[in-house]
């Protein structure tokens, strides 16, 4: 139990502002991570597609 009035004041300030600060950081990081993650996933998919196409091309040129 905090009895020092000054400290109690300080804590109450922290308590009113922390959700905003935490929210700001959470949004910032969540958006960045999700965006980069999605881009990486798409990149992986495209890479796979390209490999399929390239192997098809190789097979064709070998066949000719």
């Amino acid at each position: 139990m905090v009895t020092d009035p000054t400290l109690k004041e300080v804590y109450s300030l922290v308590l009113t502002q922390w959700p905003l600060v935490a929210g700001a950081y959470a949004i910032l990081w969540a958006v960045l991570v999700v965006y980069v993650g999605m881009t990486l996933r798409r990149l992986g998919g495209l890479d796979k597609q390209l490999k399929v196409l390239e192997s098809a091309l190789e097979r064709r040129s070998a066949g000719e």
Binding site: P5, E9, V10, Q17, L20, V21, A24, V31, R42, L57
Partner: protein
């Protein structure tokens, strides 16, 4: 392709390390700045306020905005709560460890109250370390988009259109992040979620401009025409955004201004590290998207070869 993804990963790692460092610095190294003073009474009887009314209002508004204390306004023998009418006396009720204490606003100001005073810790300021870099980068990348658009108009090379488009995407991402963190900071610092203040307004307009850029792109059929229109619009938008910022200052504004003063070294260093880290992130995202576009081009190319 290989090189763009490699570059992107390096930038991602650098950005990650730097932003983590900046985060730690901001929370565990840099101090919490003061935002005005709070003077609290150990014990106080109700003291009538004698000074000029305006001053008392200023003082008490600080408190109501940030701590949520009650303001009691006494006017002509009647008492209004939380209403800033013209009044003879203003009382502030403080909730201290020893129960409710009523003091006058003048006492806060004069320091005459029997009690201690301390700086008000501004925790909301922690948002600053990342909000400001993100905002700056959004503007820098917008500049890049305009630059590439100009290059595109001069050369008509598709690569510049791609670069401009991707820069614009990064701008959109960062502008949205700026808006989100900015709104939260507005609430923390001024007690309201939104204010038509020059910076906020400018970012609102900028968000609309960037969204409009993509609306325009989606609405044009022909690829080259789309590129030209988009380029012209992004140049116009880049000229427009600073005008928006300066002109919004025409509106009389009365909200409190954050006194940032000079930054102490721990704060400044954390801030700079965050800035560099965010630039690395912006670069990484740019390169990732670039790699994606190049991959798509190669896939298109392979497909046309196969169809032949």
């Amino acid at each position: 392709m290989r090189s763009t993804t490699t570059r992107a990963f390096i930038a991602l790692v650098v950005g990650g390390v730097l932003t983590l460092a900046a985060f730690l610095g901001a929370f565990f190294w840099a101090g919490v700045p003061d935002f005005g003073f709070v003077r609290t009474a150990e014990r106080a009887d109700s003291v009538r306020y004698q000074g000029p009314f305006e001053q008392a209002i200023d003082e008490t508004r600080y408190l109501t905005n940030f701590i949520g204390y009650d303001v009691e306004v006494v006017s002509g023998g009647e008492t209004f709560r939380g209403d800033l009418l013209e009044a003879d006396e203003v009382h502030v009720t403080l909730q201290t460890a020893e129960g409710e204490v009523r003091v006058s606003a003048a006492e806060f100001e004069s320091g005459l109250v029997r009690g201690s005073s301390y700086g008000r810790p501004d925790w909301g300021q922690k948002i600053f370390y990342f909000h400001v870099p993100v905002a700056e980068i959004s503007f820098i990348v917008f500049g890049f988009a305009a630059f590439y658009s100009l290059r595109f108009i001069m050369t008509r090379k598709r690569e510049y259109d791609t670069k401009a488009r991707i820069s614009m995407e990064v701008t959109l991402l960062f502008v949205l992040l700026t808006m989100a963190t900015g709104i939260l900071w507005t609430k923390a610092a001024w007690g309201v979620w939104w204010d038509w203040e020059p910076r906020l307004t400018t970012y609102f307009i900028m968000t609309l401009l960037v969204v409009a850029y993509f609306v325009l792109r989606n609405a044009v059929e022909d690829e080259e025409r789309r590129a030209l229109y988009a380029a012209a619009f992004s140049i116009l938008g880049f000229i427009d955004a600073p005008i928006s910022f300066f002109i919004t200052r025409l509106i009389p504004s009365n909200h409190p201004v954050i006194e940032r003063g000079g930054l102490e070294p721990p704060m400044l260093i954390s801030f700079i590290i965050a800035q560099v880290g965010m630039i690395a992130f912006g670069y990484a995202i740019y390169q990732l998207r670039m790699g994606e576009v190049l991959l798509k081009d190669r896939i298109e190319h392979a497909k046309t070869l196969l169809e032949r």
